[in-house]
């Protein structure tokens, strides 16, 4: 073949490759995105048996949990999840904002270089290790040193323990996101505030944190999602008692722990597997809704703050 012919042949081959690969990519994308729908549909279909027996309302608001009799009230588990998540966020958020601000605004550069990766190391530690640590350290701490001040008796296995363990788990997530956000705020803004005679803290409080607010909320959302769904660490320290917690020292039984603990019994009791799938569906819906709502709030915030 002469030169022109071979170039044209090669050209056709290249175009063919391009087209093939773009189809492949399209398929990969479609398949992976459709997982969202598939999960929702799959979980729903498997929840149908238990939904036939008890309505949505009963399932969500009833506290009666007697699988042998076919009674499934998820209210205690939903409350357990909410309690543990709330406690973890209340502990983690202020600590993390303060730390992130320290790392970006105040720390001398030597310390900054060590601190940031150091906090990230925490993010790699598997949840089960946190659970182990919780059992070894937090439970005795609560039982012997904290609870006696407040209640008569506590085994230490409580939503407080779950909240503390969860909080430590989500520290690196929140700190790293907020640090990133603070880092992208231009120095000019801080300079402008300083030039007007503001102290460093005033600049941080009134200008930097204000500008970083959307980012902080995004970090919060991510952290809450993670806390909701965490299974093993919480399972090990929460007490796993199907009652609605009334104080932080009460045991709790978050939804993920419920699913994980009863997986073994699932097949032997009628409707139990469907009920557990319903629990998974509940989790899925809560997180989905949460994601969408927070996006809307974020978008509105950004429109208000920016140009």
């Amino acid at each position: 073949m002469n030169y022109e012919q071979s170039t044209i042949e090669m050209y056709r081959l290249r175009l063919f490759k391009d087209r093939v690969f773009s189809k492949v990519m399209l398929v990969c994308t479609l398949v992976s995105v459709s997982v969202v729908l598939l999960i929702g549909i799959g979980l729903y279909l498997h929840s149908v048996p238990v939904l036939h027996k008890l309505s949505w309302g009963t399932l969500i608001t009833s506290s009666i949990w007697k699988p042998m009799k076919g009674l499934f009230g998820f209210y205690p588990f939903i409350m357990g999840t909410l309690w543990v998540t709330a406690i973890s966020i209340i502990i983690a958020l202020p600590l993390c904002i303060l730390t992130a601000v320290y790392i970006t605004e105040y720390a001398p550069s030597r310390i900054k270089k060590i601190l940031s990766p150091f906090v990230n190391l925490l993010s790699g530690i598997p949840p089960v290790i946190f659970g182990v640590w919780g059992v070894l350290f937090i439970i005795p701490l609560i039982q012997s040193h904290i609870a006696p001040h407040f209640v008569d008796f506590s085994t230490g296995y409580s939503v407080l323990a779950g909240g503390i363990v969860l909080a430590v788990m989500i520290f690196p997530l929140i700190v790293s996101i907020i640090t990133e956000v603070l880092r992208t705020i231009p120095q000019d803004l801080r300079d402008a505030s300083s030039s007007l005679g503001a102290t460093k803290w005033e600049t941080t409080k009134k200008v930097v944190l204000r500008k970083a607010l959307p980012g902080i909320i995004a970090a919060l959302v991510l952290a809450i999602s993670r806390a909701f769904g965490e299974t093993i660490a919480v399972l090990m320290v929460c007490g796993n008692n199907a009652v609605v917690p009334h104080s932080v020292f009460d045991p709790g039984y978050p939804l993920p722990a419920l699913i994980a603990n009863n997986y073994g019994d699932m097949m032997s009791i009628p409707l139990y597997d469907s009920a557990l799938m319903f629990a998974a569906l509940l989790l899925f819906i809560i997180i989905l809704l949460f994601n969408i709502i927070s996006r809307v709030i974020l978008a509105r915030l950004e429109r208000k703050l920016a140009a």
Binding site: S109, P186, L189, D191, A192, S195, T199, E202, R210, L305
Partner: protein, 264 residues
């Protein structure tokens, strides 16, 4: 405008607002400013000119101690403002900064409404009464010619303004804390010619009440509005004097070469 440049008032006869004596600045291992000795005259427009990277902005930042925020900075020497050395260990930094208003290169409105931007400084320094703040905000917005344009939307986000308006807002914000000196770091280089013209005129009007120090790399701008020019090259002050003299009849060789483009 050209008339004002031709005024050859001898600077020594007027009051000096800032007096720099033996200033040396080192950032990291680089010796940025070498043995600077200059006087900034009171209530005049002084321009600091020179090629990029030779220390003009660093010099400006030593005036309001903004250099303190950079890491690894060593400063020796004195900067006397109204006779007071601002690098004295006992000095309250925020008070010094309040005396100086800074206008940076890119307008940076604070993330709040137009009203809150101007009121930010006074609020920090203790002014709380709404009536007082209202009057202050209006006064400074009028002084920078923004009032008519924004009076109906004082609560809108400052980011909605055009760049020229934002820079004027930053100027109003800086004036609201009643400074004595205005520092401008290439403050018109991000603006279009019309906005630049407006801001330059503002500087000329403001020198009645404030001393103005501007860093610029645009020789024509220096010629248009300055009374006094300082030429900095490689961290050293090469020449300083009345604007017309430095531009038309420079004494030093380096100055001659730098302003060559302008003269011809």
């Amino acid at each position: 405008m050209y008339q004002e440049v031709l005024q050859t008032e001898s600077v020594a006869a007027k009051k000096t607002h800032i007096s720099v004596k033996g200033l040396n600045v080192q950032i990291g291992s680089q010796h940025i400013l070498k043995d600077i000795n200059i006087d900034i005259p009171d209530k005049k427009v002084t321009s600091i000119i020179g090629p990029s990277g030779c220390g003009k902005t660093t010099l400006l930042k030593t005036f309001n101690r903004l250099l303190d925020t950079s890491s690894d900075v060593k400063i020796t020497g004195k900067v006397l403002v109204d006779g007071e050395n601002i690098y004295d260990p006992g000095i309250e930094v925020t008070r010094i900064r309040k005396k100086m208003g800074l206008l940076s290169q890119r307008p940076c409105p604070l993330p709040m409404s137009i009203y809150d931007n101007v009121a930010y400084g006074p609020r920090i320094h203790g002014t709380r009464k709404k009536a007082v703040l209202d009057e202050l905000v209006e006064r400074q917005l009028r002084a920078t010619g923004l009032w008519e344009e924004v009076k109906d939307r004082l609560n809108a986000s400052a980011n909605r303004l055009s760049i020229g308006q934002q820079q004027r807002l930053c100027l109003a914000r800086g004036l609201a804390v009643s400074p004595e000196i205005i520092l401008g770091d290439e403050s018109t280089s991000a603006l279009d010619p019309v906005s630049t013209h407006i801001i330059e005129n503002l500087f000329i009007k403001l020198k009645e009440k404030y001393s103005i120090v501007l860093v610029t790399h645009i020789l024509r701008q220096a010629a248009r509005i300055s009374d006094y020019i300082i030429f900095v090259y490689m961290g050293k002050v090469i020449e300083a004097g009345p604007a017309e003299q430095v531009l038309q009849d420079p004494q030093e060789e380096l100055t001659k070469q730098y302003v060559k483009g302008y003269i011809t």
